[in-house]
């Protein structure tokens, strides 16, 4: 402590300064901008007001928040329904295959989601793979419109975010003591009882973590609706992007961002509370 604290001072100062300048100050600036109004010649006019927050209550904005939330929620549910059985089966695979099979999930997780969305475009477009395939099979005669629909956005989001659901689910199912399931079965539990009374409660932390990891980005990945949904499906991310680069109304864009962050904070808070409550219950049961 007494001698040579040079390294320590250097290290803490650097970290402090960097995070201060590039995280703390920008957060303040974002909040401050949300309290200003759009200027005529400049980007913002220094005139503090809460006006932007009242504008959020406008029906159009509420509708977008609702629709964006609904789309993100559907995407999360879709990922959960697809991902849970998958993670379960993966966790029950023989150990020597597990590593490789998990690696196959991790590769798309590391791959640029832009490239993966583009690949989806190739499949869904009017003269794309899916249409050609369906015509070849004889299910349809003329190409169907898949691209630039809400479903295309949904497919794109699920495709992009599925690994984020599978990884935490797998981690929590893998830790499970599978003898508990055998025990439940021996004691005469039916399949749905085993699922709802044993499997579900024990893997709830993984389910919640996966849902959070999918839900939050699903609301803001603006380039997926941009590429796949045309202009029809708009996420909160698209509106923020448009306020900054299209309408040039920075204060409103900042306001929506603050609202979005608060919304996400609330979701995380509920998750955190739920998780801790659950952990206590679990601890009691064990005692």
């Amino acid at each position: 402590m007494k001698h040579n604290t040079r390294f320590r001072t250097f290290s803490t100062t650097l970290v402090w300064m960097w995070l201060g300048i590039f995280v703390l100050i920008p957060s303040f600036l974002l909040f401050a901008t949300s309290l200003l109004v759009q200027g005529d010649s400049e980007l913002v006019r220094l005139q503090p007001t809460l006006h932007n927050y009242f504008r959020l209550l406008d029906l159009n904005y509420l509708r977008v928040f609702l629709r964006s939330g609904l789309l993100a929620g559907t995407c999360t549910l879709g990922c959960l329904i697809l991902g849970y059985p998958f993670s379960y089966l993966l966790a029950r695979m023989p150990d020597r295959y597990k590593g490789f099979l998990l690696l196959l999930v991790i590769i798309p997780f590391w791959t640029s989601s832009l490239i993966r969305s583009y690949a989806i475009v190739m499949i869904l477009k009017t003269h794309g793979i899916l249409n050609s395939f369906l015509i070849w099979v004889g299910m349809i005669k003329v190409p169907m419109q898949f691209l630039y629909t809400q479903s295309a956005t949904l497919i794109g989001l699920i495709y992009t975010l599925l690994p984020l659901m599978i990884l935490p689910l797998y981690a929590s199912i893998e830790k499970l003591d599978f003898r508990l399931i055998d025990a439940a079965r021996d004691l005469g539990a039916r399949k749905y009882q085993i699922f709802f009374r044993v499997l579900l409660p024990l893997t709830l932390p993984g389910i919640l973590a996966g849902c959070i990891l999918v839900l939050l980005p699903a609301m803001t990945l603006f380039y997926i609706p941009d590429l796949l949904g045309g202009a029809k499906t708009i996420l909160i991310g698209n509106i923020i992007q448009n306020q900054f680069l299209g309408a040039r109304d920075w204060p409103m864009g900042a306001t929506i961002s603050v609202a979005l962050t608060l919304l996400m904070g609330m979701v995380l808070f509920v998750y955190w509370r739920f998780y801790h409550q659950h952990r206590h219950e679990y601890a009691y049961e064990q005692n």
Binding site: R8, W18, Y159
Partner: protein, 262 residues
């Protein structure tokens, strides 16, 4: 018989999901070798699109920009992120809780919010958008990933090592150089690779903090895709996928085993 069927359906489900995850990428790669500009019909094997990619100096410059920013951002973020992890683990200092909080904010706040916050910062400072703003932003958003990775390895270390070194007269700087860096090396490398990939792939934050004179690959692909699909993009995306694949394999084979951060 019943269990046999059961087993087949289980494997079929796994395969279906893997197919869902890989089909689009496979299609992309296959069609990057298709000798036809528009048609989806297979017209024969060709390297034409890769050749035209090689001759496209515009794209090469953009790719170099991405590699440069990825390399520098990963290096910068690894340095700062490692120092942050070590400081948070070893030292008591003013505002430690706040630093924890700021890293947490960086992790949870959506990319788009990080992007516009930085945009507002740069425009307040009257910095023109380009290489520097992009680099500073990339370093910033990569830091928490390094910090979390390195921190998780630090928690597994024996604290007595540092005490022993201190008793033997090592300064903090020596402890960092001679003990911490070698011990944390796998985590530091993992953090670097993760940062590099994140930086190379980032669309949302870069979208806001770079200017027209400094374009990078993901943004270029984004604008190209919006205009229309060209086989050249297939080739480009295949190359980028190949690069990611190599990084993931290197990561998994050499570093991933003793590190549970993904």
């Amino acid at each position: 018989m019943n269990t046999h069927m059961n087993r087949i359906s289980k494997v079929a489900y796994l395969l279906a999901i893997y197919l869902f995850l890989y089909m689009p990428i496979l299609v992309l790669i296959v069609y990057s070798f298709n000798d036809s500009s528009f048609s989806l019909l297979w017209q024969g094997f060709t390297f034409r699109w890769y050749e035209s990619l090689m001759q496209n100096t515009d794209l090469q410059i953009v790719a170099l920009h991405s590699l440069l920013v990825g390399f520098l951002a990963a290096t910068g973020a690894t340095g700062i992120g490692t120092l942050a992890a070590v400081s948070l683990y070893r030292y008591q200092f003013f505002g430690k809780k706040l630093i924890h909080g700021l890293i947490f904010i960086l992790i949870i706040s959506p990319d788009i919010v990080t992007g516009i916050s930085l945009l507002i910062l740069f425009s307040t400072l009257k910095m023109s958008l380009g290489f520097w703003t992009l680099l500073l932003s990339h370093i910033t958003f990569c830091i928490p990933f390094v910090t979390v990775t390195v921190y998780s390895r630090l928690t597994g270390q024996d604290k007595n090592l540092f005490e022993a070194a201190k008793d033997l007269g090592a300064t903090e700087g020596t402890i960092f150089r001679r003990i911490l860096i070698p011990l944390l090396w796998p985590a530091i490398c993992a953090g670097w690779l993760l940062s590099f990939t994140l930086s190379m792939d980032d669309v949302i934050i870069s979208f806001f903090v770079t200017g027209p004179e400094f374009d990078i690959l993901p943004l270029k692909i984004f604008s190209m895709v919006r205009v229309g699909i060209k086989p050249e993009i297939n080739a480009l995306c295949s190359v980028m996928f190949g690069l990611t694949l190599v990084i993931v394999l290197v990561y998994q084979l050499t570093l991933g085993k003793n590190n549970d951060a993904i």
